[in-house]
Amino acid sequence: MENMLSKKLNRRRFIGLSSCALAGVAVGSQVKVLRALAMTGEVANVTAVTEKEVFTSCGMCVNKCGVIARVRDGVIYKLDPNPHFLKSRGMLCARGNSGVQSVYDPDRLKYPMIRVGERGAGQWRRASWDEALDLVAARLNEVADKYTRAGVMFASSEGFQEHFFLTFAECFGSPNTVRHASLCLASNMQGFGATFGSNPTPDVLNADYVIMSGANRSEALITPDSIDMVTGNGGKRKLVYLDPRFTKSAAKADEWYPIAPGSDLAFILAMIHVIVKEGLYNRSFIENRTVGFEALVPHIEPYTPEWAETECEISAENIRRIAREFAAAAPRAVYYQGRRSSFFDNDTQMRRAMAILNVIVGNWDVKGGMVPTQTIALSTHDYIAPWYSRLDAGTATFLSEKDGSWKHFRDRVLEGAPYPVKGMMVYKQNPVMSVPNREKTLKMMAQMDFICTIDVTMSDTAWYSDVVLPEATYLERLDPAHALSGIVPVVTYREPAIEPLFESKPNLWIMQQLAKRLGDEVYESFDFTMEEYLEHQTTRNPAILESLKKTGVYYEWTEPKYGTTAGQRLKTPSGKLEIYSERYAERGLDPLPVYSRVEQVPKGKYRIIVGRHAFFTQGTTQNNPYLNDIMPENTLWLNTREADRLGLKNGSKVRVRSAVGEEVLRLEATEKIRPDCVYMAHGFGAMSQGLSKVYSRGGCDAALIEDGVEPISGNVSMHQTFVEIMPA
């Protein structure tokens, strides 16, 4: 066993350097901090400006927009969009602009903390890094000794330094990394991947016709799509938008249909029906580039627009018209697949149908269509498959080895089978707030022997941990180069705008320190500085680092490339676009998407749906002072007529009850939602008093939503919970 470990580690020694001290990490002094806090937002003075401009990359959400941090007297006072960062069209959204507050917010984590009271009671004592790290290492070893190394789970989500956390998990010897994908886009990746061999990028900028369902691009901002949706094609493109809510995307759409939740598949199948029946598909494309069209023809026979109308509540006439318009606009027409797809237990098949619809109109790899997602290769080390099997192995047909499935994983931890998991390391993830059925998450955590969370704020998960380690924010770190894929891929990175405040440390440092404490074999994998790591990443192309330092970004080309896959094999088993999936058939799955109706709303109840606002990123930014000012509390949206029927007044407090929880929040009677649905913004109703602005304010959706799951990808299904509403 030990031998195996060292062998694997040796393979991972990608920078063979002698161990050198970590001199680069400085500690912000207290005085500086106080001055920084006092001076934040100092009004700019026209004269005598001694500013430093630092290239970095926004860390407020997944888009990682290019940023120029403006620093004056050691204080970051403004983040400007980096005009070189084409992907974001030179913008920085509200969250990006609020990033300064992630540094100077009094609520940020400042020192390592060790729990002294009961878990969740909020009694902490400040500890030195040495004490905290010694404790974490000792407890991890304890769990490993008592159970196995797989007895420690590693929960994390995306970020430039997540890689080191995952590496640490690997070196520690646990296969149990649980990432955010199964709360987000796992089914999307699966559905599109099964068809295209990868998840393509819709060329929104050049598309003439876009259909969006399950993607609220005006609020759930994705670059460049959110921008191109509005400004692309001179604003002339047509947008058909399906959503149970009248979102800001609906407001921007040419047509909005409050589709019956979960019935998108019926709508898409009916569109395919029309296109196939009326011969509007791209024949030569289908012949040359696809497999399985002949199976599709009989398959869609029953899915007439008239049938779909009864399912999705969009008239047959409109479905026909939209299908014809879509086909006519093709190939510059996309059925936009969105990102988060954790809606229903039919989601993978629904995304499959979306993909098939795109395929049959032949929009693959052309201007305004579905374009292969490109990326710029950076050097990294080989991935080593873990030697234990994952705790949640076999729970979903195509489970991601790296991401796992939160729902299944948690269930198995609670069962204690096939083996116990008693240690929990968390980095930059907040499962208490984000995994449906909060009660279960808390139970899972209650059975842990040890929990350590690394974060920048006292999230609900940190609040229930034993040790909390303060990470430096993205503006205080030198980070690895990071490739962002898309039609025009880009590499970005982060220079530290200031030194870390308080005693916060970059994650790499934290991992290195823990690794040291676990032994030399583990530390070997971390024996490098960030500068060395950056250099290593760009060894094959030093121009990357040069460009990053000069402009904050690196591009290989700045105009979209189309047709790059002509004559190439795709990453599907057949090497072609797969309308019919042999692989699915082999695994006993429907090789072509078959419609099944999702559970309907019982009388007297409402379906709770979740969504996004442009100023919040999942559950992470609601406590940001700038953003909290925009929306200090979430509300329960209920259709005005339903509110009248229940005698509930706008603004009054209501109790929302599901099978797994109950929350109290204010009612917002609105026309903007289907009468059978209710909606609440994510990220409020926190249990952590360390989040002073959202603690106990509004309601927490994770407390209400039941943990349904999509069986193919293991993605959760968040729109299958029904709630009762009563006055509070």
Partner: protein
């Protein structure tokens, strides 16, 4: 050669109501935290229709830098003034905090800053202009709703678009002669 006269032209059709402009402005200009403290805003216009036939737009705004500014007229100490380029300014040292300008402004473009101990408002980011930068709200906007420029220069982007497209100003009937132009 005429003086510069700065103006902003807004294409509200593009506005996502994402509040980027508001936060950018707050950070750039050190606007104190608090919901009431802001120099620019995005108003969600009234919802049109009833479910399921709905429509809604949003209107960003800020000080209109009026040519005939009521705020400037009523300020007892001359704290409110205008730059040669037409930017309506507040000299915070002269402001006595009577808030008369706030009652006089038909656009609710001013707020009282506890930090400055004076009334505060949009300056078109004068200090950024001096550095050759665009106002923060103009620069940061995802869909570039705002266009900033010198309206006295016939070749400027703002002049050209105002020539080409119809526009309106807010509360034209007040005679304030605003320099924020909303494209129709």
């Amino acid at each position: 050669m005429k003086n510069k006269r700065y103006a902003i032209v807004l294409d509200t059709e593009k506005c996502l109501d994402c509040k980027a402009c508001t936060v950018a402005c707050k950070a750039e200009n050190g606007v104190p935290l608090g919901r009431e403290n802001y120099r620019n805003w995005v108003e969600e216009d009234e919802l049109r229709g009833t479910y399921p036939n709905l429509g809604q737009s949003s209107t960003p705004g800020q000080c209109m830098h009026c040519g005939n500014a009521p705020c400037k007229r009523v300020c007892p100490t001359g704290a409110t003034g205008a730059s040669p380029e037409g930017i309506i300014t507040v000299n915070d040292k002269k402001c006595i905090g009577c808030k008369y300008c706030m009652t006089a402004c038909p656009y609710n473009a001013r707020y009282y800053s506890e930090k400055l101990e004076a009334v505060d408002k949009c300056t078109f980011c004068q200090h950024r202009l001096a550095q050759g930068r665009l106002p923060a709200c103009v620069e940061t906007c995802p869909t570039k709703v705002r266009l900033f420029g010198d309206i006295n220069d016939p070749e400027s982007e703002v002049s050209k678009i105002l020539a080409k497209r119809r526009s309106r100003v807010q509360k034209a009937e007040m005679g304030t002669k605003p320099y924020l132009f909303y494209l129709i």
